[in-house]
Each structure stands twice: as C-alpha cells, then as structure tokens.
Amino acid sequence: MKPSAAPLLEIRGLHIQGQSGEVWQDIVKDINLTLRRSEVLGLIGESGAGKSTLGLAAMGYARAGCRILSGTISFDGLDLIAMPEAEKRRLWGTRIAYVAQSAAASFNPAHRLIDQYKEVPVYHGKSGEAEAERNAHAVFRRLHLPEPERIGLRYPHQVSGGQLQRVMTAMAMACGPDLIVFDEPTTALDVTTQIEVLAAIKELVRNSNMAAIYISHDLAVVAQMADRVMVLRYGRLVEEARTGEMLAHPRQPYTKSLWAVRSLNKSEESGGDVVLSVRGVDAAYSGVVKVLHDVNLEVRRGRTVAVVGESGSGKSTLARVITGLLPPHKGEIVFAGKPLPPALSERPKDMLRRIQMIYQMPDMALNPRRRVRDILGRTLELHRGLSGAARENRIVELLEMIELDAGFLNRLPSELSGGQKQRICIARALAVEPDLIICDEVTSALDQIVAEGILKLLLRLQKELGVSYVYITHDLATVKAIADWIVVMQWGKVVQQGPKGEVLTPPHHPYTELLLSSVPEMRTDWLDRLLNARRVGAQATSA
C-alpha cells in the first residue's frame, strides 16, 4: 500500500472551543493533520484530550456547544468549514462515514438493523432498496457476522455488543466512503469481543482503498490499526510518529505514561489468617436467572484477591452476595471465623462496618449535594460516634491518608476530578476501619495515569493498615498490578484460581489463556500473529 501524493484530508491550525457554563474553553488547539488515501491515522489520548472533537471536525461536524474558531479543514480539495450544511450532508454517509463508540446507543432502538443500513445508500440515492439489501448481506458476510441474510432483520437490542459494532462498521461501508472515522469502536467491549471487531475492521481497511482515522485511549489497540499515530493532550499535539517508532522510542514522557498501569507489578505475597471465605455459593436473580454456581474462595488478611472475568461472568453479583445485597440460594459466607447472615438486614451493624465497598463510578457513589466534610463525617458519626473537633480531625487525617489536604473539606463532588472523587470514596470506606474492602472495577472509568495513582494508593494503604481487598476487574493489566491471588470467572463459575504467579504462567486453563491472549500488546504485529495462531489452532483441532 503506497500512499498517493495528494492528501485526502488536510487540517491546518485548527482551533475549536467548547462552552462550559458561560465560558469558552479550548478543546482543540493548533492541530495540523494530514491523511493520505488508504492510510490509517491513530489519534490517542486520555479523556478530555479532544480526540473525538478532532475526529468529528475531520468530517466538518461540530457538536452542539462547540465552535470552530480558526483553521482550515480540507477534504479532497473541498473546504469543509465554509461548506454549507446541506452540501456537507451529501458527503456524510457517502464519502465520509462515522463509527461511534457505543453501537448499542448509536443504533436507533426503534428500527431494524437492515433498515438503518439501507437508509444511507437509499436516502442519498446511491442505490435502490433491493440493491442496498444485497450489498448489506455481502458486507455482513465479509465481516463474519452470523446469518448475514437474517441478522439485519433484528432490532439492536436483539444482537450482542460485538456484532452490533460490526454492523455499524458495515453501515459505514455502505456507500464505499473515502474516509471513515472510528471513534473508540471497541472501548465498550470485552477483550475477547474486542478482538473479533478489531479483526473485522482491520480486514476491511486493508482490502479497500479508503483512509481511516482511528481514535482510542488504548495505544496497544491503535498500534494494531494505524500506520501513524498522533498523541493528543489537552487538545494539543504531544507527538506524532510512525506506529512502530512510537512504540519503540516514545519521545515524550507523556506518551510513555499512557501505559503506566502496565508497568505496575506487585510482588505476590501469601499467608495471613483467613478473613473471608465463600463456600459453595449459588445465587440467582428473582429466583430464576441463576448467575453464580458453586463459587468458593478465601481472602486472607492484608492480601488482595482479584476476581477476573468478562461482562456476564457474575463477578459483580459475587460482590453483591458478599455484601449481603443479594442473599445466596445455597452455600455460606464465613467472615472472621463466624458465618455471616445471608441478608443485609440481618447483619449486625459492626459486621456492616467491617465490610466496605468502592464502586466503579465515583460520580454515582457520591451524593452530588454533599460536601467532602459531610460525606466522610456522616460515616464517622454513624459507625464511630465521632462529633465536633474529634470528627473534624479524623476527616483531615483521612484526607491525608488519600493524599489530599484539608483544602478539600468544603468541596462538592462536582468540584473534584475523577481520580479525586475515587479517592474520597476510598476514604469513606477507610473511615470505619474495615477489614475487607470490595473494589468493583474502581479504576475502569479512569485514565491510565490516574488509575495508576489509585492503584498505588490502594497498595500503600494495604501495607499500612493491613486491610484485605476483593478486587473485581475485567482488566488483566490491573490484576498484575494489585493481586496476590487470582480468581478467574466465566458464566458464573470459577474456572481457575490460584496465586498470581501460578495463574499468569502457563499452562493456563483454556479460558484464562483466551483472556490473557486477548489483551492487546504493545507490538504492531500482535493482532496479525494472534489471528494467525488461532487460525492454525482451529485448523489443527478440526483436522
């Protein structure tokens, strides 16, 4: 694939502002971008880096509340800034297409998939209904969707997330565009599902003459897709390089920090008395949908048990069972040597104090109308009976533990960053001096550097206070960073468990193997090699 001379897309000196309240803030500034035909450009950065805004600007589109202040955007010689809306609409869907982050939210729930696919070519007069339908079947087949003739008759909620994302990619291909903007197309998917979507996209891009912009926060994913990568931060360019070069020799420290969590590796420890043991637990929702089958695990003092699995594996349900929110059907939970009553309402207050929980979304776990002082103070009053100066002193002490200072006392959650909010949640859990904290995907919604900070904090607190963690996550890099013991779950069952070193070294259980091999690695040829290896493996088993 040799790029042709004239660039397909050329952006010069782009400056975009977004309105937050009354003030306009820079979202994208001083960005120059050149994209040639059949080239794939990766845009990478953390939340708020302006990558989606830039991706949409490449289509000549600005979201409500955004304005393009200056700069030029030229698509195949056409000036997308000066172009009237009606003319841009003739480009969209036909020559420039968009693949959104969450296919589940970006498909209209009211229409069948095939109708949403056909809408593009039919609306733009590129083909008739029947022809569009035949084309759809062909693209669905190319993307290895099951039952390509029938899947289009389904509604979005009837199709799995990975399939939906592939249908969306197919929809973007409907008119054979020159440019596709992929906006985090696999971020909402499990690792094993991510692979099938990545493979489909890669195949499409490789076998057509189109150019693509691939936006992601995960450099390892971008590395599989892009020829060239631009790293963005606060709307500005940090560095730009060929993909291989960027991975081998990142010039900026910021680029290196994008894989911060991967470099953490806690040395595994064992021993300690058993704090919690879950014995033969079965659980079901509304008595019908069985989600846990015979789960056994033990948590020791001052140690971390990581529960790993994909969505639907039952890991969050396990947390609900331990905390008493969902009484189990069968089996028992023993805490500090005594059996725990199954239901929350039957547990004595002191038991409730000793098991705490931290959630994935700190935004939703904090009352938006309460200040930090009240959030922490309320817990101290309730469980520790503290008031007045004693309460105030303890709050400041807690803030120091989580590396914040007394200046945060009067802040509302909306005045905190995502990482700070999660720290407040940690402080609230620590306020009552628990023996066990259940961490449910606590770093999943955070950027890498922030996540690294939270993980380090959790490790430090564990060392100082001897608290135990049950750490629930789908992310194997985080597991490596924090776990002593790993429990792998699939479809409500524990498929493998053991000390970290043992679980992470071969031979693995086949599902553990699948999970581990599905985590994108920082090599440009990781996806190709993996797909090849799996193809060979599949042939070997079928032969």
């Binding site: 589109y61 003739r90 969209w92 970006s106 209209n108 729930p109 009211a110 809408e119 733009h124 909620h157």
Partner: protein, 326 residues
Amino acid sequence: MNPIVTTVLQRVGLGVLTLLAVSVIIFAMIEMLPGDFASAILGQTATPETVAAFQRSIGLDKPPVTRYFEWIGGVLQGNFGESFSSAGALGGGHAKTVASLIGPRLSNTLFLAGFTALISVPLSLALGLLAALYRNSIFDRTVNLVTLTTISVPEFFVAYILMLILAVKFPIFYSLANVSPDTPFFERVARTALPAISLMLVIVAHMMRMTRAAIINLLASPYIEMAKLKGLAPSSVILRHALPNAWAPIGTVVALNLAYLIVGVVVAEVVFVYPGIGQLMVDSVAARDIPVVQACALLFAMAYILLNLLADIVGIVTNPRLLHPR
C-alpha cells in the same frame, strides 16, 4: 404467550380493578355528602313520616352496602337506575331512567370532544415537531409564547374574548351552542365551533409543548448524532429517528387532554350554554339527584381509565424491546 399480549392483558385487568375501586369511592363520597334528596325536595316543613315514606319509595331506606351492590349490579347489566328528580314530584309522573337523561348529553359531549380532538391532536403534533425542528428560531419562540399565554389565561376568559370577537364584533360564529338531538350535522359543527376553538387553545398548548419536549429530550441521544452523520436532513432525523421513540410520552399527554375534553369542560359548556354532560352533573349535584351524579362520575372515571390504558398500550407497542423480545 407473547409478552406484549400478557402486558396488555395485565393493564386491562388493572384498569377494570381500578374502575371497581373508583366505583366504591364514588359511592362512599356521595354517601358522605351533607343533606339528602328527600328533605331537599320536600322542604323543611315536611314531617319525618313523609320523608321516610318518600325515602322508602326511592329505596334510600336500605343500608348503604345493599344499595351499593344493587347499583353496581345494575350498572354491570347496563342499567344506571332511575333519576330521583323526575320521579320526584311526589305525585308521580313517569320516572325517567338515568340512561335517557345522560344519553343525549353524553353524545353532545363526545361530539364536541371528538370535533376538538380531530383538529387539535394533529395540529399540536405538527406544531410540536416543527418547534423541535426549528428550535430557538422565531417560529419556535412565537409558538411557545402563544401557547404559554393560552395556557395561562383562564378558559372562561378565552371563551368570552372569542365570543366577543368572533360572534359579536365579527359575527362569523354562533355565540350560543344550543343544539338539540335533531340539529343537522353541519349546523351542529357551526354551532359548536366557538367552544371547540376555545378548548383547542387550551389543549393544543399542552400537547404541543409536550411533543416538543419529548422530541428535544431525544435529540441528545447518540443515535440522533449518528443519523445526522449519515447525512440525513434535520426533518428526516426528527421524523424517522426521534419521533418513533417519542410515542410513549406523547401518547400520555394526548390521553390526558382527551380525558380533559370529556370530563373537564363544564366551564366552556356554561359559557356557551352547551348541553353537555358536565352541566348535567353540576345540576344533578345541586338537585341531589344521586343516581345521575353517580353515573356521571363513573363515566368520567371510565373515560380517564380507558384513555390512560390506551396511552399505556401505545407506549408498550411502540417499545421494540417489548414488541420484539430477544
């Protein structure tokens, strides 16, 4: 069984139960009203014996529970009983049935409601969609301002103003809407035009604003952005992608307003002297004609429950998750 059918049947069953509960409440409330029909009609000079005899003749001497079951049993067979006041003139005369009193009034009310709804529902949907489409434009602001005004002004005031302008200053319409069962259709339409217009001004405002809000509420959805980025014009985005997901809230507000047209228009009836069911009920309360009051109240409850049931069903059948389960 299809979950849709189950859900709809559940709702219908709940509606019937609600109606039964309401019938008990209606009966109990009327039981608690001060004063009774016999002493009201016979005057203060009547001896207790005359009152008792009269009460016996119209069945008021029986215990309330018995009377409730007699009433509701009759209603279930389509018999709403006999009006007190027509039986009233002690000497007898022929007792009129409640049904014969309510019948023509109800059909008048339904005619006015249907006439108003036929114009105002499509009108408010169209205005709401256009306002959402041209959000914050002059058109949107004007429509919002006008509808806000018509909601804020009391309806009798709107009615008198309309009468003053459209019947007195410029005699286009009739100022009085006095129709009888043998009024020909077109004259009926002409005579009810003014009450219909004044009701429209009130309910179009509600329905239009809710339609606009329901659509705008959806415009922030990712699938709307996707539709825009497929190159669809704003009108297609709203009609194809927003509207199909907005039927549930729109259906609810339409049902509420239609119910209002049946049960809540007594003011307009009084102003335009229109012989609707609202006036009949008010008159019957004044005359303590209990069977008529009960029947009217039950009909009103039925209208509310039925229309809300319809709105529920619209919400259910336009929800693809229910219509097409996994």
